[in-house]
Symmetry: C2
Subunit: 230 residues, 2 copies
DNA sequence: TATATTTGTGTAAATCTTACGCATTTAGAA
DNA sequence: TTCTAAATGCGTAAGATTTACACAAATATA
């Protein structure tokens, strides 16, 4: 077997955020010397003594100074043998979600060239990152319908209308507000709080929160989260 | 960035087969010199100028001489920094399905140390392959319920009872034979053939076949395959 | 000819989904 | 103060789907 295989291993992160009926993705500016700079997904080479997950977390910390709410491996991209084969890189992509409180914080550390982009205003990206982003979008859409990951894009306490709009926005579907509420409530995994939200107009709405313990308990009993649409 | 990262990239394949109400997995015998031989998933190092998918297909051909019906990336395992870090390997695992006609063919080429194991008679495996196999099982169970991959484990023409038993066996659930048939037929993605099966006893049964074209056409119109159980 | 076995079809009850109606609570305008 | 617009919260009837069965049909074998 070829001892000098010499393929390098990188990790990339697709970090989604959500605010005001808009989905965002976190990008960094590649510094290719002078002005020929592309936007790219945060990421970089894995160090010899760290796990893949540790590598992503380290890169996210270094490049964007962000910690995420949800995190999972997405896919490994490594079929672009087209580029210089002497410099081949495969990339293990990770999919992550943060809540809106993270969207403002930016210029903390050396994360100065990190920036949030609205999902339909993403510029041309470096390497195969556009393809990776597309795959991440697919995963987000799919997973939203069969796992309660929407809550990881919202503040700890949120309005039903926010949850509802999140689903409408990301899945690009119409939902009946009342049926949606009934469905979610029937799962008994979110709870009313005593708090009300500062509102713009209309009847004041209760804030709700996701009870993760309860969800995990139900999971063991065979519960299956699922939101369908017409 | 560290130029001498020196992580090697391997691919592994989890190939499932099905016959007589039994799920099988394809393993190869590692030749570690003398008698200290472990069973392992087929796989090996990726060559510098081949894609990940090509690498799996090549290894499968070399080690087991099998071609598969279904094929997708499963997961990338690379967190065992525990082993000698100077010799670190990450493994991109692929999930594959073959039909029962492939289960017999074995000693064709240099595939002499490849062997099918019943899923609950799998021996201790090399490396982290037991963990990989467990993850593949989860994927198989999940995917069986929301994509029509069961057909890739059966002959081109099959009995309804075979399909039904496949679901019962792999998902370890009881199904009502009549409701299952109705459900599958309602999708209109399988078709009756003129052929009947040579049977052991009871009323002769028609053979059916999966119409992949029709399935793909329906997919575009928003169709969603789904089998649920009590 | 009777029996065991498996296939193929149907149907009623229960459950879940869908499409709405409407009262409630607030801010702000008249 | 009253009216209106906007959004929340609750309910209900019709439709669709799932579930739990009953039973006839076709074959091999005893």
């Amino acid at each position: 077997m070829s001892e000098n295989q010499n393929i390098r291993v990188a990790v990339d992160a697709i970090v989604f955020g959500y605010q005001n009926n808009q989905l965002y993705v976190l990008l960094i500016q590649q510094k290719f010397g002078t002005n020929d700079s592309y936007w790219a997904l945060p990421g970089g080479l894995v160090q010899i003594d760290e796990s893949l997950e540790d590598a992503v977390k380290r890169e996210l910390k270094e490049e964007t100074n962000i910690s995420v709410n949800y995190f999972e491996q997405l896919f490994t991209f490594g079929d672009d043998v087209f580029r210089d084969p002497r410099n081949r890189v495969i990339s293990v992509a990770y999919f992550a979600l943060v809540d809106s409180s993270k969207l403002k914080v930016k210029a903390d550390s050396d994360a100065e060239n990190a920036q949030w982009f609205k999902i339909d205003e993403v510029p041309a990206l470096a390497f195969d990152h556009t393809i990776i982003l597309r795959k991440a979008m697919q995963r987000l859409k799919a997973k939203l319908t069969y796992e309660p990951i929407g809550f990881d894009l919202l503040p700890k306490e949120f309005l039903f209308s926010e949850l509802e709009n999140l689903y409408c926005t990301i899945l690009e579907k119409e939902i009946d507000r009342r049926n949606f509420r009934k469905k979610i409530l029937s799962f008994e995994i979110i709870e009313e709080t005593d708090h009300f939200s500062p509102i713009k107009s209309g009847r004041p709405a209760k804030l709700f929160k996701f009870n993760k313990q309860k969800y995990n308990a139900l999971l063991k009993k065979g519960f299956h989260f699922e939101i369908k649409f017409a």
